[in-house]
Amino acid sequence: MSTHSPGAPRLPGRSPHRREYPYALFLLPGALAFLAVIVVPFLMNTGISLTHWQGVGSPKWAGLDNYRALLDDSAFWESFRHSLAMVVAMAVLPTALGLVLAAALFDYIAKHIGSRTASVLRACFYLPQVLPIAVAGIVWSWILAPEGGALNEALNAVGLGSLRHDWLGDPDFALYSVMAVMVWVQLGFPLVVFMAGLQRADPSLHEAAELDGASWWRRFWHVTLPQIRPEISVVLLWCTIAALKVFGAVYVLTKGGPGGATNVPSYFSFQSFFEKTQVGYGSAVSTALTVIILALALVALRLQTRAEDQ
């Protein structure tokens, strides 16, 4: 950490920085802030998960009771299954659609219609990403409303009135409706990343394949995809993590309902904390969620450093 390597002899009279503070000192404000805002609360949360506590009075030690209860709690497992649905809606589908759209924008629209059109379209797809999720929720819960909602009215207008639904209020449909909204919210992120990835890829490969008469799909599959593989895995993992953390959308669209049909672990823990005052139980849920997310984040980090090395 000093400016001299350890073995190097110090030249007399050439050491103006001799009594200077080490670089590690610059980490001090950050370290203290992280201790107070992240480390201590996180450890407290883990500690609370081992107790029965209602948020007032003193917590009672419970050992692993909360976790055992969790394993038997069908509502929790249901919320967890919905997490997997969110992974499909927020990671798998946006990545797949984002790939096709990025390739189409990049080597069809940009070439045949103009790069300006391509970037305007990219911007349109990205717009939902900068919107507060609470606002997106308001927009969509109005569109999907059973009476006077824009979607049902539109179905009526084109003579498909028989397809009208209470999109968010029907337990059989609510989860799919939320999933559809999340695809809309999420799609712009993979699209932008993939288009950036395609820009660094070598165009001559593509041109060679085109000259050889390869169809658009074959070129997409054999040329485009392999080139942006690092981006694909990183995007998939980051989006999966975002999907496991999803809270705001569920809060604004459905509050986990109807009858738990769209509940997810993060909303489940929020309910335990602030509605049911089962703080210990809520902490166990959020700790379990944290373990899964951090494990995935570690994998993502490894992939990312590998992508950088390439």
Partner: protein, 254 residues
């Protein structure tokens, strides 16, 4: 993708009578701003905008500052255990806020920061700077050594090198960070929902989300609310479009 916004804008300027007569798909007969005005006054929207701007702006500046300090030690100072320190920051950023929210809520009550904008500023400064540290460290890791050594030989100490050499040269990356921190903080929902309960402290996101949860509004007012919520985000987007797309690519593959 933008169709929902257009439909919302159309309906935000209809009168309730027109809405119930013609439904959500008709073109508005005229511009009717009562819904917007009623909603603005009902939630004191100006105050919410001010709160959001104050919180997001402070977080953006403070988090960028903290990121620079951390990244200077990691990227240029090459402190010992660098990969571990970096991994710590990334994991801190990925942590679900549910795992922090109750202790933060409890502790802030203990120290008298509950329901203050300051509490939210502190928490998000730390969370955002975790990402900033990660991104800036890799940018500063590639900083040309000769430039720093030259400044050192000229007699600059580490503090001066940071402010006169490293920060000016990293300005593009810092710009990206400021924009992202601002927008992310603006959009945050869970922690502000828990921490900011009084009307005077709420952000735009929380005010809209809470109203929506109560379902007290008629259709035109809902659209007015949605439109007013969309507009600031839309402005940021128009202003910062380039920075945003550059930043995403940087964050994903850096």
């Amino acid at each position: 993708m933008v169709l929902p916004f257009l439909v919302v804008a159309l309906n935000a300027v209809k009168s309730p009578a027109e809405y119930s007569a013609n439904g959500p798909l008709s073109l508005p007969e005229g511009i009717h701003l009562d819904g917007l005005r009623d909603f603005w006054q009902r939630v004191d929207f100006g105050q919410k905008l001010f709160n959001s701007a104050l919180i997001s702006g402070s977080v953006a500046v403070l988090a960028a500052l903290l990121s620079v300090l951390n990244a200077y030690a990691i990227g240029i100072g090459r402190v010992r255990g660098r990969p571990w320190v970096l991994a710590f920051f990334v994991l801190a950023n990925m942590l679900p806020q549910e795992a922090l929210v109750y202790p933060v809520y409890y502790l802030s009550k203990q120290v008298g920061l509950y329901d203050t904008r300051l509490s939210v500023i502190i928490v998000f400064t730390v969370i955002q700077s975790a990402f900033g540290t990660y991104l800036l460290s890799s940018v500063l890791g590639a900083f040309p050594k000769e430039v720093i050594e030259a400044a050192r030989i000229d007699g600059a100490n580490k503090w001066q090198v940071l402010w006169r050499v490293v920060v000016p040269v990293s300005r593009p990356t810092l710009g990206v960070l400021l924009v992202f921190f601002f927008i992310w903080t603006w959009n945050e929902f869970l922690l502000p929902l828990v921490m900011l309960i009084s009307n005077d402290n709420q952000t735009v996101s929380v005010a809209l989300g809470v109203l929506q949860g109560q379902r007290l509004m008629d259709a035109t007012m809902t659209n007015a609310a949605a439109l007013l919520g969309v507009l600031p985000a839309f402005c940021f987007f128009l202003i910062f479009q380039r920075t945003l797309t550059r930043g995403i690519a940087m964050g994903a593959v850096k």
